[in-house]
Symmetry: C2
Subunit: 455 residues, 2 copies
C-alpha cells in the first residue's frame, strides 16, 4: 500500500545536503567557456580575480567536480532558515479536478522572500573567509539585495547595493528592509561611478536597468580595497549554490518513491530553475529518467523562446566577460513588468546550452495570464506568490489541465521561488485591470540583437 504523502514534507537536519551538485560535471556537451572580451580567449581565474573572490571563481570555472562540499559554516547558515518545505498541492489539484499530482518546492519562507538567500549566504561567507571587508551588488526587484543584506549582517560585512532607480522608487518598503539590515543602498544610475555618470549624461531621467546597476556595482568593487562584487543569478557558481533546492526536493520525493514527470521553473537569469532541476537533469542526462523540464519566462522578455544563442555581455556597459547564452542583446530594454526578477536580457550558460540541445523546453507567458494563475493558486493553497514564481504556477496549472483532458496521472514538480509581499502594487494593478501585456515586436527584438557583439 502506498504511504500517505503529507501536505508538507520537511527533511530532518541530517537529511539536508552536505554537498552542492555541479550539473556541468555530468554534461557530455558542456556550456561554452566565458571569453575575455579583449582577447576572446577563455577567461582565467586571474582575469576574474579583481571582481570576484577566489572560492567563487574556482567554483565558476570548475566543470569536473560533481559534488562540492558545503562548508560546515554554510551548512550552519542554511540551518537558520532551511529546509524549505516540499508541498503537495492537494488543494490546487482538487480545485482543478486534475488526476495529476502537483508538488512545489517553496523557497519563500525566509525573510528575503525567495531562494536568493541560498547563494547570498555562501558568497558572503567566502568573502569573509578571504579577509574581505565589503561587497557590492545590484538588485532589481529587491530579493537579491535583501538576501545579500541579510547575509552580510550575519557575517558582519559592509554591503553597497545598487538598486535599479525605478524599482527603489516603486518599492520603498523593499528599500527600507535592505537598509534595516544595514546595507548602503544607492539608486542606479548614480553619480558614484563613471558608468553611472555616463548613462545619466546621455539620459538624465532614466529609471535605470539591471545591466546598468551591474556595471556600477562591478566598477565600485574593482576600485575599492578589500572589496569584491557578488551576483545573484546568471553565473554557474550561483546555480551550484542553488542546487540545494533540487537536492532537498529530490531527497523528499525519494522518501516516498515519487519520480517527477515534469519539472517547471520560472527563468530570469536561471538561478531558481537551474537549482531546482540540477539533480533531476543529471538523472536525465544519465539516461535514468524521461523527465520533461520547462522554463517559463515573461512574454515581455523572452530570451529562451525568441532570443539568439550567442556570445554576449552580461551588462549594458559591456564590462563583463562574454557569455555564450540565450540573449536578447545587452542593449535590449524589456517593457515594464511586475516580475522584476525576470527582466534580464540573457540567461545562464548551462541552461542556455541545455535548451539549445533539446533537454529543456521553454515557453513565454503574458502578465495577465500569469496573475490569473497566481490568484487561482493563492485562494486555495493560501500562499501569496511572487510575480516571478507565478510564471511557474501558470505552466503547472496548464500541464495539470492537460492531464485532466487526457486522464494521465502525471507527477508535476514546480519551483515556488518566492513570495509577493512587496509586490502588492502588481496585484492591485491586476485587480484594476491596468496591467500591460506588451509583447516586443520583431523590430524591438532586432534593435536588441544589434547590440550583440559579432565575434
Amino acid at each position: 500500500m502506498k504511504e500517505k504523502i503529507p501536505t508538507r514534507i520537511y527533511l530532518t537536519e541530517e537529511e539536508m545536503p552536505k554537498f552542492w551538485y555541479n550539473l556541468r560535471a555530468d554534461m557530455k556537451d558542456k556550456p561554452e567557456p566565458m571569453l575575455h572580451p579583449g582577447t576572446l580567449k577563455p577567461v582565467t581565474a586571474d582575469d576574474l580575480a579583481p571582481v570576484f573572490c577566489k572560492s567563487v571563481i574556482d567554483q565558476e570555472l570548475d566543470e569536473t567536480t560533481r559534488l562540492v562540499p558545503i562548508p560546515e559554516a554554510i551548512q550552519d547558515f542554511y540551518r537558520a532558515y532551511r529546509p524549505s518545505p516540499l508541498i503537495r498541492a492537494y488543494y490546487l489539484e482538487k480545485a482543478l479536478g486534475t488526476p495529476a499530482e502537483i508538488y512545489y518546492k517553496f523557497e519563500g519562507t525566509n525573510t528575503s522572500g525567495s531562494h536568493k538567500l541560498n547563494s547570498a549566504g555562501p558568497q558572503a561567507y567566502f568573502a569573509k573567509e578571504a579577509g574581505l571587508t565589503s561587497l557590492t551588488t545590484e538588485t532589481g526587484a529587491g530579493q537579491w539585495g535583501t538576501a545579500m543584506a541579510m547575509a552580510c549582517a550575519f557575517y558582519d560585512l559592509k554591503l553597497i547595493v545598487y538598486m535599479v532607480k525605478v524599482s527603489s522608487e516603486q518599492k520603498p518598503y523593499r528599500k527600507a528592509l535592505i537598509e534595516t539590515y544595514g546595507a548602503h543602498l544607492i539608486p542606479s544610475p548614480s553619480n558614484t561611478t563613471e558608468s553611472g555618470k555616463k548613462i545619466l549624461a546621455s539620459d538624465p531621467n532614466t529609471g535605470g536597468s539591471l545591466g546598468c546597476a551591474i556595471s556600477e556595482a562591478i566598477e565600485t568593487a574593482v576600485k575599492t580595497d578589500k572589496c569584491r562584487y557578488v551576483l545573484g543569478s546568471v553565473l554557474n557558481h550561483v546555480l551550484l549554490h542553488q542546487s540545494v533546492i533540487g537536492l532537498e526536493a529530490k531527497t523528499a520525493l525519494d522518501r516516498y518513491g515519487i519520480k517527477p514527470d515534469i519539472i517547471i521553473g520560472c527563468a530570469g537569469g536561471g538561478s531558481n530553475l537551474g537549482g531546482l532541476l540540477s539533480p533531476f537533469m543529471g538523472d536525465k542526462l544519465a539516461g535514468k529518467s524521461n523527465t520533461r523540464f520547462i522554463a517559463v519566462e515573461p512574454a515581455s522578455c523572452p530570451s529562451f523562446t525568441r532570443g539568439r544563442f550567442a556570445y554576449d555581455f552580461g551588462d549594458t556597459a559591456k564590462t563583463t566577460p562574454l557569455i555564450k547564452m540565450k540573449t536578447l542583446g545587452n542593449g535590449f530594454i524589456p517593457s515594464a513588468n511586475h516580475a522584476g526578477g525576470l527582466r534580464y536580457h540573457g540567461m545562464n550558460s548551462t541552461l542556455s546550452k541545455l535548451h539549445n540541445d533539446g533537454f529543456l523546453e521553454a515557453r513565454a507567458e503574458t502578465q495577465t495570464d500569469v496573475f490569473d494563475a497566481a490568484i487561482r493558486f493563492m485562494k486555495v493553497e493560501g500562499i501569496l506568490p511572487a510575480p516571478e514564481s507565478s510564471h511557474a504556477i501558470k505552466a503547472a496549472i496548464d500541464e495539470a489541465l492537460v492531464c485532466k483532458k487526457t486522464g494521465e496521472k502525471k507527477v508535476i514538480l514546480f519551483g515556488l521561488s518566492g513570495t509577493g509581499f512587496f509586490d502588492m502594487t502588481a496585484f492591485a494593478s491586476y485587480s484594476d485591470k491596468t496591467m500591460n501585456d506588451y509583447i516586443p515586436t520583431d523590430a524591438d527584438l532586432e534593435r536588441g540583437f544589434a547590440t550583440i557583439p559579432s565575434i
Copy 2:
C-alpha cells in the same frame, strides 16, 4: 548523552494536534462570566446567537470540556500551512553570550503573516457548516483581516472587513492583499452603519479605532441575512483555537525532554499569548511545573500593568456583552504605536484572571526599546519580526541577559507571532529616530477609567 537539538523542529502530520485544549476546564478559579449589559446576568447562547455562529458560541461558553476535537476539515485547513516551526535561537544565544537556551514558536510563515489564521480557519469553517453565506469583521494592523480573507477564500464565503481608517491609509499594501483575497474592505468609521455615522458626525476627521470598527462589523452582521460576526482575539473561543500553538510547541519540546522555565508572549487582546501558554499553564495549575509566564505589552497601551480588573465593554459603542477583564476603559485612546495589534483597551478574560491571581506576570515596554530588540534579533536570526512580536523578543533577550549575569542555564520559550513585511514604515521611523515613545499619564488613564461602566 543529550540528543543534539535541531535549529528547527517540525512535527510530523501525525503529531499535529487532533484536539484543542480548553485551559478554563483546568482552572479552579474560572474567569467571571460575560454579562448581558441590559440585565447584568450571565449571557446565554441565545443572547449571542444574532452575532456569532452556534459552534463558536458553544465553545465560548464551555468551561468544562478539556479537549475539544478539531473537526477533520479544520485539521485539513491547518495542514495547508502548519506545523509551524519551533526554532532554537542558537544564533541569538551566541550573540548574547547567554547560557540560557532560547526557543521560539514562529507563526509567521503563512501568508497572513501571523498566528491569526489558526482561528480564522475554524471560524470560517463553522460559519460555512452552519449554512451562512457571509461574515463581517474588523481589522487594525491588518493581520486578522488578511487571515479572515484567506479563510473565506478557502471556504468560499463573502467577507466584509472594517479596517481602522488610519491603518487602511498607512498600509495600502495590506489593504490590497485583503482585497486580492476577495474580501470587501471598508475603512472605518464609515457611512455603512449607524455607529459609524454617529462617530463621523461627532468627529468627521477621526482616523478610527479598533473599538469603533468592531461596533460597525457587529451592526452589519446583525442586520444582514445569513451573516455573522467573527473576532480575532479577546474571546475565549479564539484562545481555544490558538491552543494549537502551545500544543505543537509542547509536543516538539517533549520530544527532546525540554521543560521551559519561562514562557513569554506579546499581549494585545491575548490570542497569541493565550494560545502559546495554554497547555503549559495547565501543567502549572496542576502543580506539575514552576514555569514563569510573562505577558509583554506596549507602554502606550498598558492594560495588564496599569489597567483595572473590572467589567467593561469590548467596543466603544458599548454594544458587546460586559467582560471582566484588565481594562483601560472602552473610551481609552492609545497613542499611535506601530504595534497596531496591541492597541486594544482590554484583555482576554482568562488571561486577566490568571494575571489577577498571580499566575501570569506582565511588563510594558516602549517602542524604541522593542525595536532595538527586533533589530538585534533579525540580524542574527534572519527573521523580520512584526512590531507586536518584537515585544516578546525584548523580554526574551532581557531574561537571557539575566541568565548571563547569574550564570543560570534557563530554558526560555517565546512566541514569535508574526512577520513585519507590512511594517516597514515602522522600521524606517526607527532608523530615522522619529519614533515616539509616549507613555500615558495618570490623567490620561483616569479619562479612560471614567468610561468603565459602574455595575
